[in-house]
């Protein structure tokens, strides 16, 4: 089976059928020419992000290919969510060690199902033989109102702002530790944790709802400690986090189950999972206390839990406070694809 047949069978035809699912009129030309053509709506900016996933680093060789297709697009949609951008389309570049039709069928199914859910059309791509590598570039739209971009940047946090996170953190790392044999989990914890690792939910609806309410946002891919630090550095501010609120974030998997299962993590380990778990694909964002109602409305509208975990202060870096407001001495490492051992 040749390259062009392969592209046709698994990507081009479903992509053409799908183009009708993206916001109307945006995809002027999809897969099949030298370039795709997008027609952005007047008065908008185009948000663009690219992520590359490599076997052995971002996923295991034996991962379910449908889950891998889902995740490859989800991590990119998560970047659009963090900007408050409406997904429009994406390109897929794929290096494959061999032509495995079963793998391709499952991978494209997982990928295109999530794409369709978000109205994000596959508009172009490239396939080649090589060590398995998935590179997706995603495109979204952000309105410009009175000359002001409505994009949620990392640089907008102000002293006094509340700090929030969506969903709960640390589940993906919990699953990873179990899959690596470094932790034993009962099935009722492992199964949902593994779902969070392999099929993360990009918080696109929340990002859109937070436009005009949040002052800064980032998506949590490398762990709260490292990713929040990017907001702090870009905004030239510091943060105080309330440890109990932070550790309660993993409530639905590790903490809330503690009455129903023999599995229970002690606080220091739970804090590690929350602060440097990685692969959460939740949003961390800031908003002034005057907009707490607006944030609550956005969360309701997006059907997504958000939790206030601290506040922006002068200075730099993250300070952890216990229930009595006393400083805890802890340092955390951000996940770094080049410093961490393989």
């Amino acid at each position: 089976m040749g390259e062009f047949d392969l592209i046709d069978r698994y990507f081009r035809q479903p992509a053409q059928a799908m183009a009708t699912h993206s916001p109307p009129g945006r995809v002027a030309l999809g897969v099949g020419d030298d370039c795709a053509l997008l027609a952005p709506r007047p008065g908008t900016q185009m948000a663009i992000s690219t992520d590359m996933l490599v076997e052995g680093r971002h996923f295991f060789a034996d991962v379910d290919p449908a889950a891998l297709g889902h995740k490859a697009l989800a991590v990119n949609l998560s970047d659009l969510a963090a900007m408050g951008a409406q997904p429009i389309g994406f390109t897929l570049a794929l290096a494959l060690p061999r032509t495995d039709e079963g793998w391709l069928a499952a991978f494209s199914q997982g990928l295109l199902a999530l794409a369709q859910e978000h109205g994000c059309a596959l508009i172009g791509g490239d396939t080649t033989r090589g060590p398995l590598n998935i590179c997706i570039t995603v495109f979204g739209e952000v309105p410009v109102v009175d000359g002001q971009s409505q994009a949620l940047l990392r640089s907008g946090a102000q002293v006094g702002d509340d700090i929030y996170v969506s969903g709960h953190l640390g589940d993906a790392r919990l699953a990873l530790l179990a899959l690596q044999g470094r932790l034993s989990l009962p099935p009722e914890v492992l199964l949902p944790a593994r779902q969070r690792l392999e099929r993360p939910t990009p918080r696109v609806a929340l990002g859109l709802a937070l436009r005009g309410a949040a002052t800064a946002a980032i998506d949590l891919s490398d762990g709260l400690a490292g990713d929040l630090s990017h907001i702090l550095a870009a905004s030239s501010v510091g943060a105080e986090l309330e440890v109990l609120k932070a550790t309660d974030l993993i409530a639905n998997l590790a903490h809330q189950l503690s009455g129903k299962t023999p599995f229970f993590l002690e606080n220091p380990e739970r804090l590690d999972l929350v602060m440097q778990g990685g692969d959460d694909y939740e949003l961390c964002f800031t908003a002034p206390p005057s907009r707490r109602d607006a944030v609550a409305r956005a969360a309701t509208q997006a059907h997504t839990q958000v939790t206030r975990i601290g506040r922006i202060v002068t200075g730099s870096g993250i300070t952890l406070l216990d229930a009595r407001g006393k400083r805890l001495e802890r340092t955390f490492q951000s996940f770094d694809h080049f410093s961490e051992a393989t």
Copy 2:
């Protein structure tokens, strides 16, 4: 050295300095947030293309990293050229087996020098550890006039149109055959041929100049036979090529040197190089005979040689004609990353 330091040192700082070289106002936000933000000019479409380059398939492991940086962007700019799009910016996703600062310095130098030459800003990216893989997605602008996109599509060729190619074809394959030891070339042929293989020139200026003159266009990455076939299929037409004109296209390396060097290729081999050479990154385009003057002006304006090699006819596929207009029976294979042996 961590991932973030590495990005900063070789890509982010030069990228920020470079953003001023792209068309004014287009890059609203460059490297450093969850997404980049582009602000397309009103009344334009955005042309998007992505290409993935893999070691051992698209380049040799010992290739000069500066040439590799050049080529990785050049093949993408070539896709913009084939649409008649003005380059604006690009994203770079890079998997590296190790942190080799000498390699990174040379790679980024070659990449960013070509980017600067074309006013194409590096607006975002991703780096990870993994088998060497370079994935670039490039963005360009195409005007829409009276509701009509000015993009040069593959589907616009009309019966009676002339068929042209820019530059000369087969040089890159000539160099590849020599580097693989399948052919012996004198240095005065090998050196310029290798330059064409490793540092191709994207025909961006020609693509821009051809807007309004050409009816269809494609860039030649997989060989004339295969790539012209894409125009024919998309336009539901056939082509007649004049063999002598086609083989004369490689004049400046193989043919013209025949008086000055013992190296000479017989016509059948020259025709193979021209028809299925691959890696040429020239443009193949069509235009009606009534626009021959306009095509000549575009070529002059772009300082690029163009040669008329045939015409569009009814039917399908490519027919080769000899000097007397007699059909030659030859078939050619397109380069296919999955059917060709490694």
